[in-house]
């Protein structure tokens, strides 16, 4: 099969799978889960083939309906699109994890719907990262956002619905900002294809191009939950069912950042504006996000709330790396998109397994759980070490690169902010590990709970192992993404 057919299949398979889930699954939650797993296995196979292909021959495209750009819709697969690998991996593991979790936490009538929404959400993300057309980008963004709002509310509890509404209002406003910007870009260039826009934008008027850039950046920053636009995130991510939290925190917020990389690709190529002002804003917002996210997280008692705030910190790291606009910073940021997804999924799924077995979610109530659920808590500890950024785990590598990027860009002070943030993060993760292992249980019955069931434990352990392996084999993603970053930065001559 040709690469372009595979690229189309990457979106069609999960989309068709989502639509067919109610038909195949009916009212049987386990069958729906089996079907969703099958769909994700096929999709992951396609994604793996595409990533291998891009590593061998470089970026390639598929033209939908045989219409060549700029008239038709182009799907473009470059090194940044290789994030489909992590989307498929996390999607697959989250589906497997959901088998027992959904049956336990959700009303039975909603389980079929849950898998449909999960697959739709993954379709939206896969489409978002491979499309080469700005309006198509908007459509996929809406698919993933709308299914995301519904997934947050799916447990049917009062707080979940309120969190979903808050998320919906902010998400919808940000989508409109992006749509407005797409309209402006179309008015300026008469095209919707990203490469074509980039080529035609160079002769465009400066003021509307700047307005479009501002709208796009603001809209995507809301999606990415960068401080101070993060207010929707903690509630939505903490209250959603744990596999959904893992996807939202690991992947959905990252699509905002991948969208930002696409915006950079358009504007760097066009050379219509000097982007250094935007970069300065991003670096500062990133640094503030790191510190504020960590600061709020220290005061959280609820384990999932703490993880949600920690996501804000990590988004800060990535945005800072992008804003530094230096080779090392950009590489570190891109790889951190990938590694943070692994780490945060480990933590959220682990927390989900603990909540599933014990029914508690506050750190005080969870004291001593390390003795009864040794494997799960060990996996969470690996995730915690990794997110703090200790060698030889996955988190160390990216943070090291971002710090090097700060030095390379001539702003070592941001490297200091980064280390300072890491110390903060260390404080609250050590608090978590401490209460799991070293404190006397408040509830004695917590020593009696069983280890998580296999369908939960296996995904968690796979992810925890990957957190370690990706630290040791860190050279592979770094050298994989390097040509793309060099190409991107090469166009600005920096």
């Amino acid at each position: 099969m040709t690469a372009s057919a595979l690229l189309v299949g990457l979106i069609i398979v999960p989309l068709a799978g989502a639509v067919l889930t109610p038909v195949v699954g009916g009212r049987d939650g386990a069958r729906a889960c089996g079907w969703a797993t099958l769909v994700m296995v096929v999709t992951s196979g396609i994604a793996a083939a595409l990533v291998v292909h891009v590593a061998q021959v470089g970026p390639f495209s598929a033209y939908l309906g045989g219409w060549e750009p700029p008239y038709g819709i182009e799907l473009r697969f470059d090194e940044f699109s290789a994030s489909v690998a992590i989307i498929c991996l996390l999607g697959l593991l989250a589906v497997v994890f959901s088998l027992r979790y959904a049956a336990h936490e959700l009303p039975p009538v909603r389980i079929g719907t849950y898998y449909t929404l999960l697959l739709l959400n993954l379709t939206g993300m896969l489409g978002f990262v491979v499309t080469g057309d700005v309006f198509n980008l908007f459509v996929f963004m809406e698919i993933l956002s709308l299914s995301g709002y519904a997934l947050v509310a799916i447990s049917g509890e009062r707080t979940a619905e309120m969190a979903a509404f808050k998320y919906l209002v902010m998400g919808a406003v940000s989508s409109l900002l992006v749509l407005f910007a797409i309209g402006l870009l179309y008015a300026l260039t008469g095209s919707l294809n990203m490469a074509d826009i980039s080529a035609r934008l160079s002769g465009a008027a400066e003021a509307p191009a700047m307005l479009a850039l501002a709208l796009l950046t603001t809209g995507l920053m809301v999606k990415a939950a960068l401080f101070p636009l993060h207010v929707w995130l903690p509630d939505a991510h903490a209250i959603a069912p744990s596999p959904v939290s893992a996807l939202l925190s690991g992947l959905v917020v990252k699509t905002g950042l991948l969208g930002l990389i696409r915006v950079y690709q358009i504007y760097y190529g066009a050379k219509v504006l000097d982007l250094s002002a935007l970069n300065t804003v991003l670096v500062w917002l990133g640094a503030i996000s790191i510190v504020m996210g960590a600061f709020f997280a220290i005061f959280q008692e609820d384990i999932k709330m703490m993880l949600a705030y920690s996501t804000i910190s990590n988004i800060g790291y990535i945005v800072m790396g992008l804003g530094l606009a230096s080779q090392y910073g950009m590489i570190g940021a891109t790889v951190h998109i990938f590694n943070h997804a692994l780490i945060k999924a480990t933590l959220f799924l682990g927390a989900g397994a603990i909540i599933y077995r014990t029914g508690y979610r506050n750190l005080t109530d969870l004291r001593g759980v390390g003795r009864s659920m040794p494997f799960t808590t060990a996996a969470i500890s690996v995730g915690a070490i990794s997110i703090v950024g200790m060698p030889p785990t996955a988190g160390f590598l990216c943070k090291w690169y971002i710090a090097l990027g700060a030095v390379q860009a001539g702003h070592p002070v941001f490297g200091v902010a980064l280390v300072f943030g890491a110390l903060f993060i260390f404080v609250y993760y050590i608090r978590m590990v401490n209460s799991f292992y070293f404190q006397q249980p408040v509830h004695p019955e917590i020593l009696e709970v069983k280890e998580a069931p296999l369908s939960m434990l296996v995904p968690i352990l796979i992810l925890a192992a990957l957190c370690l392996v990706m630290g040791l084999l860190g050279r592979i993603p770094l050298s994989f993404i390097e040509p793309a970053v060099t190409r991107l930065l090469g166009t600005v001559g920096g």
Partner: protein, 117 residues
């Protein structure tokens, strides 16, 4: 200045509508009113993009006997058709969430909901 604004009255109008909508979203206390504000914003963006494609004296771009230039640009209309579908699904989801919130809490005023948390 005035002449330029008048010439671009369609763009000015959609920006004003956008700001009115955003104002409602931010300041209104009632969830339904908040959402009406969001719908106003949606409409303003749609109007802006539709206005991009308008050509003075343009006809519908349908080929066939008697078709003569200038034609209106059909692409913005096709885009906004998709945009409206998205807006309808957002509205449906938001309204169903509001109904559920009302069933659970007996109110849809944002400040009263905040007190209940």
């Amino acid at each position: 200045m005035i002449a330029m604004l008048w010439q671009n009255i369609d763009y000015v109008g959609s920006v004003v509508l956008f700001c009115i909508g955003l104002y409602c979203v931010i300041t209104k206390n009632n969830l339904i009113k908040k959402f009406i504000g969001l719908n106003i914003m949606e409409t303003s963006v749609f109007a802006f993009i539709i206005a991009l494609g308008v050509v003075d004296g343009g006809e519908a771009p349908i080929m066939g006997a008697g078709a003569s230039a200038p034609f209106t640009n059909p692409i913005p209309q096709a885009l906004i058709l998709t945009g409206i579908v998205v807006a309808v699904s957002t509205t449906a989801l938001a309204l169903s969430l509001i109904i559920r919130i009302y069933e659970h809490c007996g109110t849809i005023e944002a400040d009263e909901l905040r007190e209940m948390e």
